[in-house]
């Protein structure tokens, strides 16, 4: 088996008496979608923050393409190839859709230190931005102000911005949140194709989407991974049924 693209080794984080992350070692292999599920408060967001930066773990490391990125800032990890989307849209709401995508393209170029050229006149930036928008189907909305977009369109834009970064791995925090049945379906089929480009670490509450998409699923309960396996394995895992899926399964 080839080396994983992204891996955590023994990540631990404690907040006072609460063990939010407990010796978590997961990996993300090329071409796969690895979903992390778990009940509310299981520590999914805490785990993502430790992977992407912004929260320093008490112990453990994160590596991307074999390189330890634990010591890097959030920005440097993004430069290294982590493409993150947020549970609650983090976008420049007063700017246009295109401007948000161009920001991503700027990040990919790692150089905002240009003061004289027009950002929207730079074809190297706009081409990259537009191709990202095109892929999520937002090209026609490129001149709209983000604040005027629907919730679903903002979720699409989140993905488009991360596409402009051409990341080595995607970290997606509930991309389906609030999408509704139809939007959820569209996003599911889009992510399905995206895994070939870069693997996706997917945190998601929408179980239909998770079981439809994930090559592997890890179940996080009280900060600990209690099981990792294929959709079928997880469905039939006694411990998982008891701890998490309950009567749902």
């Amino acid at each position: 088996m080839s080396d994983p693209i992204l891996a955590t080794h023994g990540l631990s984080k404690r907040f006072g008496a609460l063990q939010a992350t407990d010796d978590v070692s997961i990996d993300l292999r090329a071409g796969e979608i690895h979903a992390i599920i778990g009940p509310n408060g299981a520590g999914k967001s805490t785990l993502i923050k430790q992977i992407c930066g912004g929260l320093v773990p008490d112990a453990g490391t994160v590596s991307l393409l074999g390189r330890d990125i634990s010591g890097l800032s959030t920005g440097a990890r993004a430069q290294a190839g982590l493409g993150r989307t947020f549970q609650i849209s983090e976008l420049a709401m007063e700017d246009t859709v295109l401007e948000n995508a161009v920001l991503g393209a700027l990040g990919a170029r790692a150089s905002p230190w240009s003061f004289w050229t027009r950002a929207l006149g730079r074809t190297d930036l706009t081409e990259r931005a537009k191709s990202g928008l095109d892929r999520v189907g937002l090209l026609d909305q490129q001149d709209m102000i983000v604040a005027n977009l629907s919730h679903g369109q903002r979720r699409q834009l989140e993905v488009a911005v991360s596409l402009t970064l051409s990341p080595k791995a995607f970290i997606m925090d509930e991309p389906m949140a609030g999408l509704g049945a139809e939007g959820s379906k569209t996003m599911t089929s889009f992510l399905d194709g995206l895994r070939e480009e870069a693997p996706i670490l997917l945190v998601e509450h929408d179980m239909d989407a998770v079981f439809a998409l994930a090559d592997r699923i890890s179940v996080l309960v009280y900060g600990r991974i209690i099981a990792t396996g294929t959709a079928d394995q997880i469905r039939n895992d006694a411990q998982v049924r008891e701890a998490y899926l309950g009567e749902e399964a």
Partner: protein, 328 residues
């Protein structure tokens, strides 16, 4: 009412140019000086607008850079007019009366101070940032009050306005021309900056620093550079202001002035190219006309500010163009 912003901008700039020319024809030099004052305040506020309007950083201490510019001019010109030496240990000079040199010194010192203060303050946000920037400006204010060598509380008088090659700066219209050209140049730079990749990233930082980090850029560096550029521009305005009055005193560092610069921007339109210019014109006009009627003219300024904050978030420009400006 919806007007084209570009058209408004052109009209305002042409008006700002036409009024002193008219005053020249009818021989009203005081009006020229008044407009020059508006131009210089506008320049200071354009500097502040870079961090406040694009970057969303409410600096309540921009009088600091205004004062540094003022004292850069005052100290250099003081040594030149008294034929004394300014000894900085590693470097000594007899001062200078040459404007371009003074401007360069004012901008450089302001930029260095902005870098240091930015490094220390930009980690904070919201009310803490406001308070810390205020605190730094107050430190300089009290320092200059006790700086006996340069006049302390009484300030420094510079008897003859500094020189600009080829011009007689004591003629009001010529000094106005210098200030107006500088304002136009800085406005041009501001417009380029706002549309540039740096401006786009800085503007995004104001709206979501998390997003900017997630695409791999460093919001701290963006804000720091904006703060340095902003400080340099306001410092340049300070040097011109001191030259206009041929006087510099600790009041240039006062928190009232920091507040007034913010007020100018809010009146005109936050984050808009000409917002500070329109704000400065309104401010100076009120100060002149209402100030002549009552010494409590700030009450009326307060009423205007209140109306704008409550009913016209985009300032005068927002009202005229029907578009709200940036949210801070």
């Amino acid at each position: 009412m919806k007007l084209n912003e570009r058209a408004i901008n052109t009209v305002v700039l042409l008006g700002l140019l036409a009024l002193p020319l008219y005053a020249l024809v009818v021989d009203e030099p005081f009006t020229i000086t008044l407009v020059t004052r508006a131009v210089i305040l506008a320049l200071a506020a354009v500097g502040l607008n870079i961090v406040l309007g694009i970057g969303g950083l409410v600096s309540f201490g921009h009088a600091l850079f205004f004062g540094i510019g003022g004292y850069a001019m005052g100290i250099l010109a003081y040594h030149a007019q008294t034929y004394t030496t300014l000894n900085l240990g590693f470097f000594s000079t007899g001062g200078t009366k040459l404007m371009p040199v003074i401007w360069l010194v004012a901008m450089t010192v302001s930029a260095i101070v902005a870098y240091v203060i930015g490094k220390l303050t930009l980690r904070t946000s919201g009310v803490y940032f406001i308070m810390i920037t205020l605190a730094f400006a107050q430190m300089f204010y009290y320092f200059t009050i006790s700086w006996a060598q340069y006049g302390g509380e009484d300030g420094l008088s510079i008897y003859i306005r500094n020189d600009f090659p080829g011009l007689n700066t004591l003629v009001p219209i010529q000094f106005f021309a210098i200030c107006f050209v500088i304002l136009c140049s800085v406005l041009f730079l501001y417009a380029r900056l706002q549309a540039s990749p740096f401006g786009l990233a800085l503007n995004a930082t104001r709206q979501s620093a998390t997003r900017v980090e997630a695409v791999g850029l460093d919001p701290m560096k963006l804000k720091l550079l904006a703060f340095v550029i902003s400080g340099a521009v306001t410092g340049l305005a300070g040097a011109l202001f001191a030259d206009l009055n041929r006087f510099v005193s600790p009041t240039m560092f006062s928190w009232q002035l920091s507040g007034e610069l913010i007020v100018l921007i809010i009146i005109g339109g936050v984050g808009r190219l000409m917002g500070p210019v329109i704000g400065a014109c309104v401010f100076v006009a009120l100060e002149h006309f209402l100030g002549g009627l009552t010494s409590f003219w700030h009450i009326y300024l307060g009423v205007i500010l209140l109306c704008i904050v409550l009913f016209a978030r985009g300032g005068i420009l927002g009202l005229l163009t029907g578009k709200e400006g940036a949210h801070v």
